[in-house]
C-alpha cells in the first residue's frame, strides 16, 4: 500500500470511530453505556397493594391479565366485582420476570413517601408532602445523564391525582431540578377543562411573539429561577403538546373518556382514565421514559371489596397499557414495562367493615405493608421470559438503577447518588 493511501485509509477509519452518527432513533450520539431497550414504561401499581391479595391470591386471582392461574374470586366478595373483559393475550407474567417478594424496606409506608422512593431510588425517612424530593428523580437523571441530554418531550410523569404528586417531576437538588424535569400531567383535570378559543397565530407569528418575549425576558433575569417556571419544552414541542392537550380535551368532550376499552361507563375509574391518557401519550410522542401511577386501590382504608375490585381494574389497565406499547411503531418490541406498587398494606385490619363483611386495611409500616412485587416484561431477546423469583429479592430503590441500565446512562450517574442495584436477574 502506498503511503498516501495508508494515511487516507487510516484517517477514514479513525473518523468512522470518532465521528458522531445518527442512530435509527434520531439520536446524534449513542449514550456511553449500551442500552437494553430504547423505551421504559414504569407503571406504579400504587395506592397500597398487599402481596396477600396480589401475589398470594388470598381471594383468588385478582390480576388475571398479569398473573397466570384461574383461581376463582372468594364467593363472599364476588358479588362486589365489576364485569371486565376476559384477558385476550398472554399473561404478562409469562412475558418477563416476576419478583414475587420485592420489598419497600425503609421509610414510612405513606403513598407520597413510597412514590418518592421509587422515583428517586432513595429512601427518605423525612419526606415532606410540601417539598419536592431531596434527591434527583429518575426523570432528571435520565435527561441530564443521557447523551445527548434529552428533551422534556421524551419523559412523562402521568399521575392519577394532584396534591403533592406534581412535585415529583423534579427535585430540589441544586445540580438537577426543573431544567431536567418530566412533563407532568394529571389527566382527570386536563380533560375537564382547557382554555378555549385562543387567538390564532401561525408559526411565523409565534416566532415573532417568542422573539419579543425573549427580549423582555433578557432584561428581567435577576429574580427568575428555573424552579418557578416549572419544566420547559422547546417552542416546537410546546406547540405539539398544546395541540395534543386540546385534542384530548375535545375527545373528552365528545365522550371518548367515558367509553373506552369496552368498559361499561359506570365501571370506569380514575386509574383507567389515567392509563388511557398514558396510552395517548405513548401513541403521540413515543417517549423514552414514561411513568404512570394508579391509586384507586386506596379505597381499602374503608372498603376492602372495593379495593379487591380496583386491583382487578388496575390489572386490566396494565394489560391495555401493554397492548398500546406493542401496537405503537417505535415502541413495540423495544420497550421494557416495569410494574410495582409503592408499598403494601397492614396484616391486621382496622375496624371498618364493608357491605360484604370484610374489614378494611390501612398501611402503617408493619412488615406486611413492606411486602410488594415487581414485574419486568419486555422483548424475549432482552428480558428473561416466564421467570418467577419467589425468594426475597429486590427492593424499591432498585428500580431507578434498573431504568438507568435499560436506557444506558447508569455509568454517567455520579457515584454515591444511588443506593440500589440493577435488577440484572431479569435480563439476558
Amino acid at each position: 500500500m502506498k503511503r498516501r493511501d495508508f494515511i487516507l485509509k487510516s484517517a477514514m477509519a479513525a473518523g468512522a470511530v470518532t465521528l458522531p452518527y445518527i442512530l435509527p432513533t434520531g439520536r446524534l450520539f449513542a449514550a456511553t453505556g449500551s442500552r437494553i431497550a430504547n423505551h421504559v414504561v414504569f407503571c406504579m401499581f400504587a395506592g397500597g397493594v398487599r402481596n396477600l391479595e396480589s401475589m398470594h391470591k388470598a381471594d383468588g386471582n385478582l390480576m388475571p391479565n398479569m398473573l397466570v392461574g384461574n383461581e376463582s374470586i372468594s364467593s363472599d366478595i364476588a358479588p362486589g366485582m365489576t364485569s371486565l373483559p376476559a384477558p385476550t393475550s398472554a399473561r404478562l407474567q409469562t412475558l418477563g420476570t416476576l419478583f414475587k417478594e420485592f420489598r419497600y424496606k425503609q421509610g414510612p409506608t405513606g403513598h407520597f413517601g413510597g412514590h418518592n422512593t421509587v422515583l428517586t431510588g432513595r429512601y427518605d425517612e423525612t419526606v415532606s408532602l410540601s417539598q419536592r424530593p431531596k434527591y434527583p428523580t429518575i426523570f432528571e437523571l435520565y435527561r441530564k445523564h443521557s447523551s445527548p441530554e434529552q428533551a422534556a418531550l421524551n419523559s412523562w410523569w402521568i399521575s392519577n391525582s394532584l396534591g403533592p404528586y406534581p412535585s415529583l417531576n423534579f427535585s430540589d437538588d441544586p445540580e438537577y431540578g426543573a431544567l431536567y424535569g418530566a412533563n407532568y400531567a394529571q389527566p382527570a383535570s386536563i380533560i375537564t377543562g382547557m382554555p378555549q378559543n385562543p387567538i390564532q397565530l401561525d408559526d411565523v407569528k409565534l416566532e415573532k411573539v417568542a422573539a419579543m418575549r425573549q427580549f423582555m425576558d433578557n432584561s428581567f433575569t435577576t429574580n427568575v429561577t428555573a424552579q418557578d417556571a416549572g419544566i420547559t419544552n422547546t417552542l416546537a414541542n410546546r406547540k405539539r403538546i398544546e395541540e395534543f392537550l386540546r385534542f384530548e380535551y375535545d375527545n373528552a368532550v365528545s365522550g371518548q373518556y367515558n367509553n373506552f376499552w369496552g368498559l361499561s361507563q359506570n365501571s370506569i375509574n380514575n386509574d383507567q382514565v389515567t392509563v388511557l391518557f398514558a396510552e395517548k401519550v405513548i401513541k403521540e410522542f413515543q417517549p423514552e421514559l414514561l411513568v404512570v401511577n394508579m391509586q384507586d386501590v386506596d379505597t381499602c382504608h374503608q372498603n376492602f371489596t372495593g379495593y379487591a375490585n380496583n386491583i382487578r381494574k388496575a390489572d386490566f389497565a396494565v394489560a391495555k397499557l401493554w397492548e398500546a406499547i406493542q401496537s405503537t411503531p417505535g415502541m413495540a418490541n423495544d420497550t421494557i414495562l416495569i410494574v410495582a406498587p409503592e408499598h403494601g398494606r397492614n396484616l391486621q385490619p382496622n375496624t371498618i367493615i364493608d357491605r360484604y363483611g370484610r374489614y378494611a386495611l390501612d398501611h402503617t409500616s408493619d412488615d406486611t405493608s413492606r411486602e410488594i412485587f415487581c414485574l419486568i416484561a419486555g422483548p424475549p431477546d432482552k428480558v428473561k421470559q416466564n421467570q418467577l423469583i419467589t425468594q426475597v429479592v429486590g427492593e424499591s430503590t432498585d428500580i431507578v438503577p434498573t431504568i438507568a441500565n435499560i436506557l444506558g446512562f447508569n455509568n454517567e450517574i455520579p457515584s454515591g447518588r444511588l443506593t440500589g442495584r440493577h435488577l440484572g436477574e431479569a435480563f439476558y
Binding site: A185, I190, N197, V209, N223
Partner: protein, 169 residues
Amino acid sequence: MQAFKQNSIGSFGLFTLLFALAFTSCKKEELYVYEVNDVKVNQEKGDKVNVKSQTEFIAIAYSDIFGTGIDRNSLDLLLAPYLAFGDQKLIEQMIIKSFLNVPGADVPTKTVMDADVTKFITDAYIKFLARKPDEFELWHFQKVLKDDPTITPDMFYFAMLTSDEYRYY
C-alpha cells in the same frame, strides 16, 4: 354716684369681655394645606422578587385584560389544567391566548397602535408591568413595531403577559 360707679364698672367689664372675645374667638383660623407629592405605583424590575401563585396569575391577568375581576367558577376552571400540567409556561400561554380572544378584552386596534407606537408601548408597560419602559426597551420595540407591519397589538400583549417579568411582583 354709687350708681354711676357701678354702671361704669359694668360697662367697662362688658367692653373688656367683648374686646377679648373679638381677638380670641374670632381669630382667623389658619389654613394648613398638607401637600403630598404624587405617588407613582411603579414597581421597578429589581423590586419584583415574588413569583405569582397560579391563582394570582390568572386573576391578575384577567383583571388586566378585562378591567374587572374574574368570577370564582371561571377561576376554578382555569386553575384545574394549570395545576395539572408541568410546563407552567405552556398553560399560561394557553390561558392568555384565550383571554385575548374573548369579546371585551381591552386590546387596542392595530390602527390605534400604529398611530402612536410610543404611547402604545408605554401604556402596555405601565398597565401590565407597572413601570415605564426604559429607553432601550422603548427604542427596541418602537423599531420592532414600526419595521414589522404584521405584528398586531394582541401579539405584543401576548408576549408581555407571558414574559418572565409578568410572572413576578
